[in-house]
Subunit: 442 residues, 2 copies
């Protein structure tokens, strides 16, 4: 008899952990991803701000599973599902499965304002990170040759939308770069004068954290001269102009660089899957699954990670964080193995270790179970936990060296403006605000 | 009196060394480059083959000269020169100069076959390197899901055109990757079976080297199963098909990946400059300059490095290598300083330290003065000299660690297929050879 075929769509935290947990099972695993690497998303903001290189936080999937003989990797685009005949449709060709694990994750969501994506890029992929890096660094280059003071101010204004961990990390790192790293690099513009705003519609930052840690993060950002605007929403987004609304007050801010960390929505594959199963998508396009993480009526089709909408015993949805995806990946692998032995497992339960967010140099907040940490201690914990998680030894070592160097010297060596980033932004290479500037007559 | 204004176009080896050599002079230096970084081109092939990351071999220009108070950096595109009024035209704006140093370098040249550039990318920029990396790695990914044996063979055939140092390095590293690094990564295709051809029109490789070292390099490549085709020229280049001609024999080879290391031509700025000065361009569009490296009739306009056509006392042109550019940059700086003191300098002389090329793991050839080296000794020399030259301490350390790791483990960690590379290749993401393949029905 042929082995049980497990197809896993997506090589992120959920999919990769599922694949690796099937290591010793007598199954054939096929891990399908449109990229050839696993991306350590929690450190993506470090690439966006020039602290790390893409290859520091991305590891080829093939090299991760090279010794796992029951696992194949296929780099391909999934375009649909045939749940009746148990096949995954690829751009060209089909893959049959006995069990399917869909872990396609989430993408930046603009709450229906899709045209905002080029005006305020999100941070979900290597390309996103390189595009944001290009925009941040280009803003200073343009400011250096700008003579009109109003335009110069707009070039040195950065707005981060979204006060979750990613927004806090971006705003904090921007403050660090401008106040320290770039200080001596420019002759005619003062990066240290850059205005950095962090905007959130909620009444506090880091909503998943205890309230005093939110306050701590806000204070810390204020000390780094980041303007935190709470209870504030983005009313309009135009090219290099953002309109904010706080209560009855509306404010228009000219900002060359606007970054979006305000929301995610499920991968479009979620829609395919809910349609194929005759279900109704949950909030943000997520796919509703039962307590054992499979589709209703399809016990052989699992959805995990950011793509899934699963709830705990009290009916609360699990948060869209890496530990949930990791634990769900391992759970589904165990469930598949159990079923092959004609056993069953109890419902998935999430063990919540806690929450942490870094703000900048030696500054972080963390809540682990009943304990709370802040400042340098929290930062070292954050550093340690993230380094330990980076998949392979080599990357961990290089990342540590790079970080140590950055920490000691305030330097960030990956400050390259390369002509990469998302294709749709090709027309945006020279930002509009500077188009008529007479830059240089010293 | 205002300081003497020196404008340097290009932050490569020539321009950067000129700027740094003017450190203590009472001049105002403006270093103009369209990129924000200095690129260590000799190691670009390591990025193209996944051994190093872009930021390992590129350093922001601003951070290199941040402590040089008489030097400004301007990231801008130069579009022309007004030699009469002494101004450099930028995309938007002008920069005036008292002395001008043009060091805009060279780009990949196709001997009039411009349409070959997308079929066989050259290796002159970070984008080039990432595009080549994407093509090489994608070829294996496509081969893994290809079932047609003829198409599979084409996917696993790599042709490197040009047997100079870059071509030898690319072919040697390709052999290393396929024979070692990727060996265990794939399940259905055998990277070790990849066919690698190195083609050159000359009767031997590494024409600048002594003949016995050329033979040594050729033998070494043959032992790594690289087919070296000498006295062979490229008759036609089509998408994934190359037609070779050796004597009266014509051979058509289907190869998904064709890389071009066969020639360079001067930056288009050379044409602007020769036209502005009323001169006739030299071979490859280079700008002819006199023994003091300035334009005839324009003692205030210097051209150095790959863009310049200068000859030594015996009328032989200087080779297009980094040491020439470096020495010319330093010479011109000294000449400008001398002139400010109403002194003059003798003609530029090139001190030739020698030549080296690396072939692969522990294999290189080197000729230093009267001495010749080969094998591991030459490789260690090559490593040492190149590391010492990488501009900053941090990069040197990271590059060394990365190399040591690669050497010990046969690994190459920067094997990411990112959706970057040159824009014109956007349509080429899915190579044509596989378009109708039914890839997967295990």
């Amino acid at each position: 008899m042929a082995n049980h075929r497990v197809v896993i769509v997506g090589g992120g935290f959920g999919g990769l952990n599922a694949a690796q947990s099937l290591r010793s099972a007598s199954v054939e695993v096929m891990l399908v991803d449109r990229r050839n690497f696993h991306l350590f998303q929690p450190l993506l903001y470090q690439v966006a701000t020039g602290g790390l290189s893409p290859s520091n936080i991305a590891v080829p999937l093939r090299s991760i599973v090279r010794r796992q003989n029951n696992c194949q990797v296929l780099m391909a685009d999934v375009v649909g599902f045939d749940l009746t005949n148990r096949r995954v449709h690829l751009t060209n060709g089909d893959v049959p499965y006995d069990s399917l694990i869909v872990a396609a994750g989430a993408q930046t969501g603009y709450f229906g304002n899709g045209d905002w994506s080029n005006r305020a890029p999100g941070l979900k992929s290597i390309e996103d990170a390189l595009e944001i890096r290009r925009r941040i660094l280009s803003a200073f280059e343009l400011a250096e040759r700008e003579q009109d003071p109003i335009r110069k101010t707009a070039l040195l204004t950065f707005v981060v939308v979204g006060g979750g961990p990613t927004g806090v990390e971006l705003a904090g790192t921007l403050a660090e770069i401008t106040r320290h790293t770039l200080k001596a690099d420019f002759r005619r513009c003062q990066p240290a004068d850059a205005r950095i705003l962090l905007v959130d519609v909620a009444p506090r930052l880091l909503g998943a954290m205890p309230e005093d840690l939110s306050t701590e993060a806000q204070d810390r950002l204020a000390r780094m001269q980041v303007e935190v605007r709470l209870n504030t929403r983005v009313l309009r987004l135009d090219d290099a102009v953002v309109t904010l609304k706080e209560g009855d007050l509306t404010e228009v801010i000219a900002a060359q660089t606007i970054l979006w960390a305000a929301g995610v929505e499920a991968s479009p594959l979620g829609q395919q899957l809910t349609a194929a199963a005759g279900l109704i998508a949950a909030r943000g396009g997520r796919v509703p699954v039962g307590p054992q993480l499979h589709l209703e009526g399809h016990p052989d089709v699992f959805v995990i990670g950011d793509l899934a909408h699963a709830v705990d015993g009290d009916g609360r949805p699990f948060p869209g964080v890496a530990p949930v995806a990791i634990q769900q990946g391992k759970y589904v692998a165990r469930l598949i193995i159990a079923r092959l032995k004609n056993r069953d497992l109890a419902a998935f339960e999430y063990f919540d270790y806690g929450n942490m967010a870094t703000i900048g140099r030696s500054a972080a907040v963390a809540q682990l179970g009943r304990w709370k940490f802040r400042g340098r201690v929290a930062w070292l914990m954050w550093l340690f936990i993230h380094l330990m998680q980076i998949v392979r030894f080599e990357n961990r070592l290089l990342v540590l060296i790079q970080w140590a160097w950055n920490y000691l010297t305030f330097n960030r060596s990956a400050r390259l403006i390369t002509d990469v980033g998302r294709r749709e932004s090709a027309s945006n290479t020279e930002p509009p605000v500077s188009s008529s500037a007479p830059p240089c007559s010293p």
